[in-house]
Amino acid sequence: MYSFPDLLYSDVRIEDVSKSDIVVTLGRTDNMKEQRYSAAFIRVFDGERWYFSATTDLDSIQDELDRLASLAKKNRSIEEHGVVRKLQANKGSYLRFDGDLNVFKTSLNEKYDILSSYFPHVEKSELVKFWRGQYIDQRVGKRFFSSKGANLEFDYQRVGFRLLFQMAKDEEQFMERYDLAGNELDSIKGLHEEVRKTVETSEDFIRNARPVVSGSYPVILSPEAAGVFAHESFGHKSEADFMIGDRTMMEEWKMGRRVGSEILSIVDDGNKPGVGNVIFDDEGTKAEETYLVREGLLSGRLHSAETAAALGEELTGNARAVNFEYEPIVRMTTTFISPGELSFDELLSGIKEGVYVDSLNHGSGMSTFTLAPCRAYMVRNGKIAEPVKISVVTGSVFQTLNEIEGLTEEFKLLSFALGGCGKMEQYPLPVGFGGPYVRVRSLSVH
């Protein structure tokens, strides 16, 4: 199909994108649209440097290949280069969402009806002053060709909605959301009980929450909080592009090093359902289940071809680009803490005074990680007690990983419709996350 330049590696990624977006604010439709476009990202590699171009003109792809090649230095040994040798050359068609599961077989009006079926839950609350409902879906057909002979077609689909609401009572305000996504339209149907419960729990929160007394507490993380914790505190550190050429990091992050408690395993897997379902990455590499931590020991990293070659490790299928305008870089797919064996009551038992983090606004991870809770509660004498307002929960990443002392058998994988992971300029990338309920011996709570 394309004439790839001699003595260089090159590849072409074409994205055929269909998207829908419906926004309703306080009962009034703000936006309702469908969008379709095709665009491409082209890469050329000469063994020393990469040359990239993003274009919306598919007819110019060959010209762009030739232009980038003219900037590069021809390399007679390019096929023996470590990065090029690592790259897979997969072939075939792996379209999963082009039949009945294709969300674009459903009309925009039907999608509006699904979204609006949830509105009564916020409309009937006296405390809700502002609300917004948003439905999104996206189907991306990807075609990948390379000078190594890759000729691959696969697709990705996500469907989700968010109901955001702001409550006010006297001088108090409280903003919460119900947000869920999956790979098919059925993922977001019939969730009335869950939405109703979120609104009711929020009403209780705004009525009764008091500022937390700052201090160090044993903390119980919900699957949402645990998933975000794993993603922010450990997931990013497992992205191998951060350690290329960095001897200190490579020494610190040797495989087999103990990084957490023996009950802790953290996994990244692009085959799991949800918005992080990426069966091939944007270098045409098949997704793998990668144990980042297995029973407390460092056991894996996330790779692109470049990082796998540099570190002498195997590909994992984690080279992703947020859209056609960007090159693939090492990103997570679906990252989670593996479940344990306890019941929720067993997890709480023995806690005289602690904190339960139920839902989150956001999290971040450097050497100190943070979780900014939305809804949180005190735990007293082994039971969930009064709601509390918390700005931020912090801890040292490695100390916390080693202080995980309980995991439930109950486990959830979560996908959100809006937002996503940010890394440098590429935001927001849809990722899945989750885990069991997790007990941490001690964290700082403010």
Partner: protein, 411 residues
Amino acid sequence: MTKERYVVHYTENAVKIVQTQVSSVRKKDILRTSIRLYDGKSMGVAGALGECNEEELVAKAKESLKLAIPYPYEASRELVREERHRSDLQGEEELLEATEEILQKLRRDQPHFSFSHLFKSARVESSMQNDLGLNLKSSREFISLELVIKDKKSSNIIDAMTGYEGRKFHKDSFIELTNMICDAYMNQLPDIEEGVYPVVFRSDDMTYYKKLYESLNGMLFGSGGSLLSGKIGKKVFSDKVTLFQTRNVEDGFFEPFFDKEGTVNDSDRFALIEDGVVISPYTDKKTAATFNLTHTGSAGGEYDGLPELGMPMLKFAESHKTAKQLLDGQKAIFILIASGGDFTQDGRFATPAQLAFLFDGDRFIGRLPELSLSSHIFDMLGKDFRGVSSEDFLGIENAKLTIMDMNVKKL
């Protein structure tokens, strides 16, 4: 029926840096076109990426009109303005050359550190024209030099950051800033006594702005869901606090001077808070009409969708004092990285500060241990607000310093 054409053409050259070496170069050239049709009750919109057939777009916009999405506001009219602002380093070659020059200097000056991330130069060309005499054209170029700094002996992903966004290539100042950060990083200071300190943020640091975005959102404000709801005309902050929404290129805003509804403000700014008094939340036509608020020209949204309330760039007015004068002889805590903190719904604030330097008003003295900062929005912008420096830090564009007293504890 009014027809309106909105076009955004974004071009960019970027150089990616890994371990203080150029690892890749990237070019982007993205054209987005949309057609809007107003019939007095609704708007129909259709957009396309890349070159397109406008007649087809008009036909699609007519189809979209049948969805009857309410938009009973008149299109902006009878306004003609064209401007062009250039920047340095727009050529692919000159950007690469400048990057290599800086990296060579840093390899020599700071051998204990490695530097990664991105230098780019970009141009945003936007136009909006309609049948009612609206003809707006904006072309703004800028450069962005951003580096993640890593101590070669550290096992962290990120140890520090440096960078700026502007129109001039401040090579010497950028190198001076980066060297100052690295040198201060290497000078680890002993423990700090806990207490109240002046804390310095760069004016582009969102850490302390977050609550203002939420509290001045016209939709939340008007519906009673904001901390500032019902407080128009009331003094809620220090009289040193004047806050603008801005599209002024001199404030480091590189999108067009008009919002997504073609609204243009005097001096491309609108004061939302003046001398501590709430003037207005930020609004678009719909929000202003729905809640009987002042229209401030803050429409955003995707190019191929109906305009909706956007998030404007917020900027505090500078004081007449330098940072040194604002500190009045005190040493301050300069925040380089404060990641992950937040405000509670009622305005309490807490954040870890992963990287902070002791600062004398002119230069960094040394690196402080990781800290925890806390306060309340009404104190941060109230009694504890010292002001925004009159000068840019080290003469780098858009690098004013905002100073406020906060509670500081060890982490």
